[in-house]
């Protein structure tokens, strides 16, 4: 696809159309190439500038390659730079001609000016032509030993570029070892930072094949390296600081003292002028303290002010990125931000995506003390010029009402909305009043009085109309003219385009009929007739169903259609807490901005930070040797991803084990999307599981995950043998933490505890001993009656495969909530039943 800018340009007379100008330039360059006249550099410069500007606007000037190279023998550094730029751009398509440039680049690499040495080396490495690598090795070798840090900085990056051209050459020349040495010894921090980023990249991709690289990569996360970097952190440039902080976030400290040491050392990074540093520090703090509830809380308090400042300073783009992160934190711990609600007030000229985030935060932080002010503020937005935001804010008011704070005042507000005579306001308010009535039936009297005054003719939106009709049916005994309104609606059946509304209409007429039979009988007949004749399958079926039900027995029909209802206590959350946790794990990544964990929007190809595919349509097939016992996780995620893209509100399912894989029934649109993906993507299995678990983080913390991926591949048994646990399993806390972070939840369930079990659970210790006798070991426990929380682990008898369990027991309602993560997901179901049976025996004599 050609950029339109280019295609628009060609007819324009002032712009060169291509050929003739290029050949003209060629001629002029040739004349200058041999000349030694004074001032020749200036004319060369003009010509070079022209060539590069053509290149920039997209005209192909690669035919000038030879002439450009000839002209580049010059002491003028600007000319050199332009030439490097040109050569770098076209060398890849002209590998033979690129050979011409090697000579002068090599000479420049030995120049006495370090700036030129550096530039030449950078250009040399940027040629990226495979058959020139032999020239690179020597120059890089001397570049890495250069006395000037600028040249070393360039050389380190050069090694990485070489690695991408030819990994073998790079490793054979032993460059990674040289970089490792520089990483720990170079006095210049920029060199150190470049070494760090290069080594992470090289070792991560080497680690898949080489044990040694795996170990090397591990050493990056070892205490000495991490401490060495941390101690010098203030010397690093702000960007390099981000890199170091990112690395430290993956380090697992051995005890809480270490955690405090690190946090004290980095405390002042929160005051850094660069927002990226502040956010990287925030991430580090949050992740370090994840297991220490009190400190974690304090961290929230601590990072609150810096983040709020970041939002109010800087450009709108920066504020947005920070706000997205703040949004995540507010959703996790709204009470901490309750007193800062004014920061989330919307400014008039903010873009609507920012306002939307702020509205959600306002909704979340509402509590007894600030509800009044927040709702007052939200009501002002309802008269906003920006209609989508006005709608959002009305919904926000409704959400707060459903959270049960000060409902009195809010209901009045909502009813005022109904009287505002703005169709979108009325529509949104109607939907809310409906939800409110489902939760607080006691308000029906006040609401119905107002709703009764609304003419159904003024309501156009299907959702609102459906809500109104629902209320007409539900409260027909209280609304004088309900049957007649319904009657007029039925008369206009054919004008009603939304199936949703017609469905509701059928049900409402039924309900009305049971309450006021004489007035509704005729209408019901008309409705059923219209329904049965409807072209929409669902409407047709429902009408027929009602008809037969009535025919069979009217009292049964009433019990089915209009049973006594219980007030809804909690409305379902649209995003599962599991998904939210995953996003939190991926703090300071794109996941936060998209409000989706990365597996929902990234191809596995691009999970790791360092893998590229040359064309997206041509995804590389990395995992052909997979068995057919497909653990469903990756596929499941993929499938979920597609579902989510079609409907945002789709409830996300908890990833389950392989059984679920066969279950989903694809609708046609889904299948077409799936089919367009390369087959390998669907079949890719075991090896993918760990990568999806750690996609956000650099693949470097994948150490354990990689070990894991091998296990299931070696044992392709489709039906696993009965599960035996190792009674003497051992796992140190840091490994547990790391694994817990990496692995996806394979099972999440709720059990009922037996009364005897609940009775016996007076202290956490009681359960520990019991579970130990079932080969399930506890690594951490806490809480006191009535709420306990445990972290357990267990190991398979013959294999190193580990199961991790988070178990929250509430003795008040005798429930145990259990989340299981497993190296080998295919047996987590068995493990779950084992765990459950062990738990059920607790407390029995």
């Amino acid at each position: 696809m050609a950029p339109p800018a280019q295609s628009n340009r060609s007819p324009s007379p002032s712009q060169p159309s291509g050929k003739s100008e290029v050949s003209d330039l060629k001629l002029q360059l040739r004349q200058l190439a041999g000349s030694r006249a004074p001032g020749v550099d200036d004319s060369k410069r003009e010509l070079f500038k022209k060539v590069i500007s053509y290149m920039t606007i997209g005209i192909d000037v690669s035919s000038l390659f030879g002439e450009m190279v000839m002209c580049s023998v010059t002491p003028d550094i600007v000319l050199k730079k332009m030439c490097y730029l040109y050569v770098g751009n076209y060398a890849k398509v002209n590998p033979d001609l690129a050979l011409l440039t090697i000579n002068f680049l090599q000479r420049d690499c030995k120049d006495e000016d370090p700036m030129i040495r550096g530039l030449a080396l950078r250009s040399l490495c940027s040629l990226r032509v495979a058959n020139l690598v032999e020239y690179l090795v020597g120059q890089l070798g001397s570049g890495l030993k250069d006395s000037n840090s600028y040249v070393r900085t360039v050389a380190v990056m050069g090694v990485l570029k070489l690695y991408h051209i030819s990994a073998l050459t790079c490793v054979d020349a032993d460059f990674p070892a040289v970089l490792k040495h520089l990483l720990l010894n170079d006095p210049d921090t920029q060199v150190v930072a470049n070494c760090l980023s290069a080594l992470q990249e090289i070792w991560s991709s080497e680690a898949t094949t080489s044990e040694e690289a795996l170990r090397d990569r591990e050493t990056l996360l070892s205490k000495p390296v991490v401490y060495y970097l941390l101690n010098r952190i203030k010397e690093f440039s702000e960007w390099a600081q981000c890199l170091v902080l990112e690395l430290v976030a993956k380090y697992v400290p051995s005890d809480s003292n270490e955690i405090f040491d690190i946090m004290n050392l980095l405390e002042d990074r929160l005051h850094h002028a660069n927002g990226a540093v502040v956010l990287a520090t925030t991430k580090l703090f949050l992740h370090l303290t994840l297991s220490m509830t009190d400190v974690h809380q304090q961290v929230y308090e601590r990072i609150k002010a810096p983040l709020l400042t970041l939002v109010s300073s800087g450009s709108p783009e920066q504020s947005y990125a920070v706000l997205s992160h703040l949004h995540l934190l507010v959703m996790r711990a709204p009470y901490i931000f309750a007193s800062d609600y004014k920061h989330f007030y919307c400014q008039y000229n903010e873009p609507s995506y920012v306002k939307k985030l702020k509205l959600e935060m306002l909704t979340a932080v509402a509590n007894e003390s600030n509800t009044y002010e927040i709702v007052t503020e939200l009501c002002e937005y309802a008269a906003n010029v920006d209609i989508p935001i006005a709608r959002e804010s009305i919904r926000a008011v409704g959400k707060i009402a459903l959270e049960q704070y000060d409902v009195n005042a809010i209901v009045d507000r909502l009813l005022q909305f109904l009287e505002m005579e703005k169709d979108y306001v009325t529509s949104e308010a109607l939907v809310l009043v409906k939800d409110l009535l489902r939760k607080y039936p006691q308000w029906s009297h006040d609401c119905i009085a107002v709703v009764g005054n609304i003419s159904s003719k003024n309501i156009q939106e299907p959702k609102a109309k459906a809500a109104l009709i629902w209320m007409l049916g539900e409260y027909s005994q209280d609304m004088q003219d309900a049957p007649y309104i319904l009657e007029s609606l039925i008369e206009n059946w054919d004008d009603e385009h939304s199936a949703e509304v017609r469905l509701h209409l059928l049900t409402a007429v039924m309900k009305c009929f049971f309450k006021r039979p004489p007035e509704t009988q005729k209408t019901l007949g008309a409705a059923l007739a219209a329904g049965v004749a409807d072209f929409h399958q669902d409407v047709h079926d429902r009408a027929l169903f009602y008809y037969r039900l009535l025919q069979y027995n009217v009292t049964v029909a009433e019990r089915v259609v209009n049973p006594p209802k219980q007030a809804v206590s909690v409305f379902a959350d649209t995003q599962s807490s599991e998904v939210k946790d995953r996003i939190f794990d991926e703090f300071n990544t794109l996941s936060v901005v998209y409000q989706k964990p990365s597996y929902m929007f990234t191809d596995k190809e691009h999970r790791g930070p360092f893998e590229f595919s040359d064309e997206l349509g041509n995804l590389s097939i990395g995992t052909e040797s997979t068995d057919t016992g497909v653990p469903g996780h990756r596929v499941e995620a993929n499938d979920k991803d597609l579902l989510l893209s079609t409907s945002e509100e789709e409830e996300t399912r908890v990833p389950s084990n392989n059984g679920a894989y066969n279950a989903p029934s694809y609708d046609s649109s889904l299948v077409s999307i799936v089919a367009s993906q390369p087959q390998s993507d669907l079949l890719s299995t075991n090896t993918v599981v760990p990568s999806s678990a750690s996609q956000s983080s650099f693949a470097i913390d994948n150490l354990l995950g990689l070990g894991v991926s091998v296990t299931p591949a070696l044992a392709p048994a489709p039906s696993p043998p009965p599960l035996n646990l190792n009674p003497k399993a051992a796992l140190d806390p840091s490994t547990f933490q790391q694994k817990w972070r990496q692995l996806p939840i394979s099972l999440s369930q709720e059990y009922s505890m037996s009364p005897s079990g609940v009775g016996a659970l007076t202290t956490p210790q009681a359960l520990l001993l019991h579970m130990q006798s079932h080969s399930v070991h506890c690594i951490a426990s806490g809480g006191q009656s009535p709420n306990f929380k445990f972290f357990f682990f267990a190991q398979k008898a013959e294999e190193p495969s580990i199961f991790l369990v988070e178990c929250v027991i509430s003795t008040a309602n005798s429930k145990a909530q259990i989340k299981i993560k497993a190296d080998d997901q295919s047996v987590s179901q068995e493990f779950s039943s084992l765990f459950q049976s062990a738990l059920s025996k607790f407390g029995l004599p």
């Binding site: 980023s197 450009s315 008039y348 000229n349 873009p351 703005k422 040359d614």
Partner: protein, 415 residues
């Protein structure tokens, strides 16, 4: 890490393309981006982070120039955005402003700068002082110099000394005949006044800007008379953290030239310097509007550049507005702006007029929001005061200058 940076003009033309990694990003991505941008009604409402079918795009818009960066791999979004902002800052600093022409005229310099700012997709240095030593800015002085000396290269021959010094933001051999340092307090007041005229939110975002022309390696200490009122602070990397933590003193070796030493926030202010009282009364298809503006708490200094901007709701057909002070403009997009300038002593500025509503509408349901602008020289409204500035390590006494300024930030009054 970033794979490619594009600079787009305000017509969507690719002015500059800088590939950063071995993985080439095709230009067609810009076409995709531009179409996406056009599909959004208002370009300022375009999200900074966009997922295209092939790449993740980060975009920052400055003076009509779009800085577009692409990546296919995960990276901290704020890092990408922050970096693009820095690129924009540095370019505008170098070229004396940003627009299509100036970038096209100096694209070689832009390439040179990008070359030093980012390598292989990872940011290297964005410190303007260091960059300036590597690549000379294309100013008039250097143009004159190049004519005189015949050396027309805008690349300095030596490597920046700072890369080797222990204070990376400063060179060791700066020399001035007249040593001087200026400290400015620049504050922005953000406020929301709701429909009932109640001040619901009022806070100040402030910056301490320093312009230093000092020789050698001077060591500065700046202290405030009342540091306790600052709610949260952020520092330039040159500020030492310890002295601030223990005594709330800013101790630092400054970079050369203009820089932002510190930014802060002061929350929960109780009053605003001016009041704005809008009144709207609807009757039978028309709406009377009147707005009064005046000084509420006299800060003791002159309040000038007072402006009032507001967007009329779409249901307003026409408007007739007049004022007793300053001028009122109504644009075709129904944006009105009333520029008052300095508030006169003898009378209260007021604007009044009628709005004609769409046929069928009796009353106005959607109300405009007034965005207020003002400027007060010579005072920091938050009440922050600089106590003293000590300079060590300097042979002779430098000149020290202090200024303060408060202006309206996001100051809005809802009708």
């Amino acid at each position: 890490m970033l794979q490619c940076i594009f600079l787009l003009s305000d017509s969507g033309e690719v002015m500059l393309e800088k590939q950063l990694t071995g993985h080439r990003v095709d230009r067609s991505i810009c076409a995709w981006f531009w179409e996406h941008a056009l599909s959004q009604a208002d370009s300022s409402k375009l999200q900074p982070v966009i997922a295209s079918p092939t790449h993740y795009l980060f975009q920052v818009l400055r003076e009509g120039i779009t800085f577009l960066a692409c990546s296919q791999v995960e990276m901290p979004p704020l890092m990408a955005i922050e970096f693009l902002c820095r690129v924009a800052d540095v370019l505008s600093d170098y070229l004396g402003g940003l627009n299509e022409d100036v970038i096209k005229d100096n694209f070689v310099i832009v390439y040179e700068l990008l070359d030093e700012m980012i390598d292989n997709g990872f940011p290297l240095t964005t410190e303007p002082n260091i960059l300036r030593e590597m690549i000379a800015p294309p100013n008039i002085v250097s143009k004159v110099l190049s004519v005189v000396t015949g050396n027309s290269s805008n690349v300095s021959d030596t490597l920046p000394g700072a890369t080797a010094s222990c204070v990376p933001w400063r060179t060791t051999d700066t020399k001035y005949a007249n040593n001087e340092v200026y400290v400015d307090l620049v504050e922005e007041m953000d406020a929301i006044i709701n429909r009932d005229g109640i001040l619901v939110k009022c806070e100040i975002y402030g910056e301490v800007q320093v312009n230093s022309h000092l020789s050698g390696l001077p060591d500065l200490t700046l202290s405030f008379a009342n540091p306790s009122i600052l709610d949260d602070v952020r520092f330039h990397p040159c500020v030492r953290f310890r002295p601030w933590e223990s005594d709330q003193i800013l101790s630092f070796v400054p970079p050369d030239g203009q820089f932002k030493l510190m930014s802060y926030r002061v929350r929960k202010l109780k009053s605003t310097p001016i009041y704005v009282k809008p009144q709207l009364t609807s009757d039978a298809g028309t709406c009377r509007i009147s707005v009064l503006v005046g000084i509420r708490n006299d800060p003791g200094k002159i309040i000038d550049s007072v402006t009032l901007d507001f967007q009329l709701p779409p249901c307003v057909l026409s408007a007739d507005l007049s004022s007793n002070c300053g001028s009122v403009n109504i644009l075709s997009s129904k944006k009105c702006s009333w520029s008052i300038g300095r508030i006169p002593k003898d009378k209260t500025p007021s604007m009044s007029g009628t709005l004609v509503l769409e046929t069928g509408l009796e009353r106005l349901h959607v109300f405009p929001t007034f965005e207020v602008g003002f400027r007060i020289m010579g005072i920091a409204l938050s009440g922050v005061k600089i106590d003293k500035l000590d300079i060590k390590n300097l042979p002779n006494k430098p000149y020290k200058g202090f200024r303060a300024l408060t202006r309206a930030g996001e100051f809005e009054v809802r009708a």
